[in-house]
Chain length 328, copies 2
Amino acid sequence: MLARYRTLIEPALRDTVASLHPWVGDKAAFTLGWAGADGTSIEEHGGKGLRPALALLCAEAVGGAAEQAVRGAVAVELVHAFSLVHDDIIDNDERRRHRDAVWKAYGVGPAVLTGDALLALAIDSLSRTGDPTAMSYLSRALVELVQGQTRDMAFESRPWTGPDEVTVAEYTRMAEGKTGALLGAAAATGVALGGAPQLAEPMWTMGCQLGVAFQIVDDLLGIWGDPLVTGKPVHGDLRRGKKTVPVLAALAGDDPAARELAAVLASGATDERTVRQAADLVEKAGGREAARALAAQHLTAALDLLDEHLPDATDLRALSASLATRSH
Amino acid sequence: MLARYRTLIEPALRDTVASLHPWVGDKAAFTLGWAGADGTSIEEHGGKGLRPALALLCAEAVGGAAEQAVRGAVAVELVHAFSLVHDDIIDNDERRRHRDAVWKAYGVGPAVLTGDALLALAIDSLSRTGDPTAMSYLSRALVELVQGQTRDMAFESRPWTGPDEVTVAEYTRMAEGKTGALLGAAAATGVALGGAPQLAEPMWTMGCQLGVAFQIVDDLLGIWGDPLVTGKPVHGDLRRGKKTVPVLAALAGDDPAARELAAVLASGATDERTVRQAADLVEKAGGREAARALAAQHLTAALDLLDEHLPDATDLRALSASLATRSH
């Protein structure tokens, strides 16, 4: 299903990026998985294109043609790429999709500029539609994206327990911004460009809910995912002390396992044995199960909104459901 | 004159920034000169506010109220702030307006995020007007800004002389993007929001011309400006080997001074005596005079557009002229 949409989006995406000065265009091509750092082009490239596919499916779901939403799809994919490039700088992550992060491959300055270029192209792409509703949701998503990333950073200096601990509710608010907003913008711009701006608000909410589910699944994979499938180290998020839902939910319980987990986390140890013990304690304290239930709850909220507003959109429903049940 | 506009813009700017999470809001306040890195607020702050004043004056010049263009003015000021924060990272500049650069004060990651936050707020501010013409010029400016910054970076690895030398024409194209585009967006959004979208295109061109003049004056100050007034080291641009108009224009001549200058630059020496010698040779080879003439030519082009389209806008004309005749 995604392949069909990719054939619509990719030529438009390549056209847009081709307008860049080659100095930054090469780095953008690397970012989007089209080329290696040495400039050689890559045929089978990464990037699942979920966000642009969501935009096109939303346009079709309201009776429009997928083509009407291509600029919106290109915009959300470019914003997504921008956010990955800058997040890797901000989070000091050296690897992305089994390759060097952009800043690692080209340096921090060029990576900042490449991210800015992708964002500028995104705004410009959508602006060319002249659709103020679509633009208002993309700009809302940009603000929410930055706010979400900020909350995530601010979590780092907060304690695991006590009055200043991060709650699951705060996490949810963070994930709505960091992951939900851009899915919300994809859905909202899709219906707006497809001819149904009155559905933009519920589809924004739908995408935000979907994003929270997506992020929680990501958290689960970050602890228990198969490294061969995810491309990320096993227990990576635990080793880095990231405040993810399974851990926060486990700590919120007041049983012996939760208290033992708190002590282990407070020790700050990151050796293999300790991290494995922490993962086991998260599970024992019910964190894994609580995270699964929370993801299911947000996915249901998203699907309920689809059922209410776009009951016949079976492909859209299938794509949305697949986002929160993926294994990588 | 600028004080009146500042009283219109600053409350709106502060309101907009207040919506940020405090973690990044504090860094945005530092960026905008409202607070020190320790959080203490600053009464007399920097930032001349030329771009927002230009937007408001343009709205008034077409018979609108300045208030109509406040969101446009806020947007261009925020984009300007964004670009300074990221440019200082990209150019590895440690100082800005007699203070630490944002990345120097808070670290690179937080500075990337602060810049992104300012840009997101800018887009969102203008998007709330629902004016597609204004938005189209802001997004065009963003793309041009990034392209200009890219050209400037790409100049660094080009030789001073020979077939790959940077020409004055290439420089002009770079400056149109790096400095002109945002002034163009200020003027274009100003007239669009003021009720005359049909004047947006000529005002965009006017602003771009003004920006080239502004940038050339900046180049002149970067070599011969008084460090006490500019806050920058004497001969700073020469020491860093920046490709500025006075130097490029001097090298374009084929007299003994130009050849001697080329040899001095090729030596790569940055001691005080060599840099002073280079400055003298630039002047002797006619680079200072040529740069002044080029700045005047671009300023005249801008003023001619104002005279043609907005002949009664005396305040706007005065502000525009002052931009290209400043001493700091």
